[in-house]
Amino acid sequence: MLVVATGAALLFLVLPVVAIFARVPPDELLAALGTDAAKDALLVTAETNLISMILILLFGTPAAYWIATRTSRLRDAVVTLVELPLVLPPAVAGIGLLAAFGRLGLLGGTMDTLGIDIAFTQVAVILAVTFVASPFYLRTAVAAYEGIDPTLPAAARTLGAGPGRVFARIAIPLAGAGLGAGAALAFARGIGEFGATIMFAGSLQGTTQTLSLAIYEQFDLSFVVALAISAVLVAISGTVLLSVKLLTRWRSGSTTPIPFAPTTPTSG
């Protein structure tokens, strides 16, 4: 009975993924990847997600450390705020981005006067991707920092290291595996983003059409191309999943408390 339930669940989850690769012969899939639509989508996704990841890491790494080192009440409040985009449906994220940064949005007038025009540009894609992906990194990073044995940064402080040095030379290396896992999760979420992107940035091949948007357009133009692009996304996501697994296995080694050798009781 248990075996039947597990078998059914596994089959249900695995079949759609396998079907993407099995539906058409592999040489057709590879040929479809050579089409302009697929190549452009790959380029747009790569460019926008690279910049998005840089932004997320640049701002998120210190931000997560700050959150992790606050008192628990403040920390909980800030973490809840930061996790909000996680539970927002992507369409809502798109509406929110429009309401904030759209031409008629809250910041629209300010951006107009400053001469900043992001409508339908790659900047809009980067904003959408960063908005939906950063909570994944922040949440995992906060947990990674909190998993550090507190005696280590404390020891560094007593040895004269300032807070910045503690952050850069102690916290980041120790939390490294967790940060890496969080970055992988954020990346996977980012390359899959669809709803917020199509609402906020529109869809134009070569400029704003990411892999997900290309699948949507190709789905009733050429199903084979849609399958091929999906296969690429599955391959990338699978790699990301694998690296998260490996990183979290490695992580447990660097953040368990390191027992100091017991000293013989002296008067020192």
Binding site: G102, L104, A119, F120, G202, S203, L204, D220
Partner: protein
């Protein structure tokens, strides 16, 4: 405990049987599932609110029906989609039931200062159109070609997936100009200004409707189509801004 489980199982089984029987037999009053072009959203809903509708781009709906979507009626904004399904035996013979015209809409604030279609060529503009496979997207290409303005396509910033997405982008002020049907412009008339497309440049827009072959309720589906073609249906369409069925054969 065992008797409780057994009773629950029997009740569940009975419920499933009843539901299966009920859904297999076509009922005169069961709502139809109508797949219709996005531009028909307001007029169909107010014409017959008792049915279940799925509105979207006609090409996307065509793909869904091809993949087995449970529609009873399919109404498309272009003959191409209904005819393709008819040739594949997936819908019965389509019938033309209305027509439409294209318009260029700009946001109320008109950031690019577009007053005529030709301004699209001379001024920098963020043009939003529907994708080429979407009926209104194809019609847009026809309009631009007839007016000798195909070069304007280089100013397209987004190819949207259906006409309502184009309307939305312009109404929100994201794009500077967009091509939609006049009927869609009416729905957002307080947020956009209409720039008329001259009559000689209008494409031949034909909306077709057909009964889906695998429908289990064909009699009611045909009745719906008849009501759309009736005086009541045609008046509703005319009041919404659609055009009367063209007399000349397609």
């Amino acid at each position: 405990m065992n008797t409780r489980l057994a009773t629950l199982a029997v009740a569940l089984l009975a419920g499933v049987c009843v539901a299966a029987v009920a859904s297999a037999r076509p009922q005169a009053n069961a709502p139809l599932t109508i797949y219709a072009a996005a531009s028909l959203t307001d007029v169909f809903r107010s014409f017959d609110s008792a049915q279940n509708y799925s509105f979207g781009a006609s090409n996307a709906l065509e793909t869904q029906i091809r993949n087995g979507a449970p529609a009873d009626v399919y109404a498309s904004a272009a003959p191409l989609n209904t005819q393709r399904l008819h040739r594949a035996g997936l819908v019965e013979k389509p019938v033309t039931f209305t027509a439409n015209r294209l318009a260029l809409i700009v946001p109320r604030s008109n950031p690019a200062g577009i007053r005529s279609i030709y301004d699209l060529r001379s001024k920098p503009v963020k043009l939003v159109v529907a994708g080429p496979a979407v009926p209104v997207g194809g019609y847009t290409l026809t309009v631009l070609r007839k007016m000798g303005l195909s070069s304007v396509l280089s100013k397209v910033v987004s190819r949207e997936s259906d006409v309502r997405a184009v309307t939305g982008k312009i109404a929100l002020g994201q794009g500077d100009a967009g091509f939609v049907y006049v009927t869609d412009a009416r729905a957002v008339s307080d947020q956009v200004t209409v720039v008329r497309v001259p009559a000689w440049a209008q494409p031949r827009v034909r909306y077709e409707i057909a009964v889906v072959s695998r429908s289990s309720n064909k009699a009611a589906a045909q009745a719906f189509i008849t009501s759309v073609l009736s005086a009541r249906g045609q008046t509703a369409l005319k009041n919404a801004g659609f055009l009367a069925i063209p007399k000349a054969p397609a």
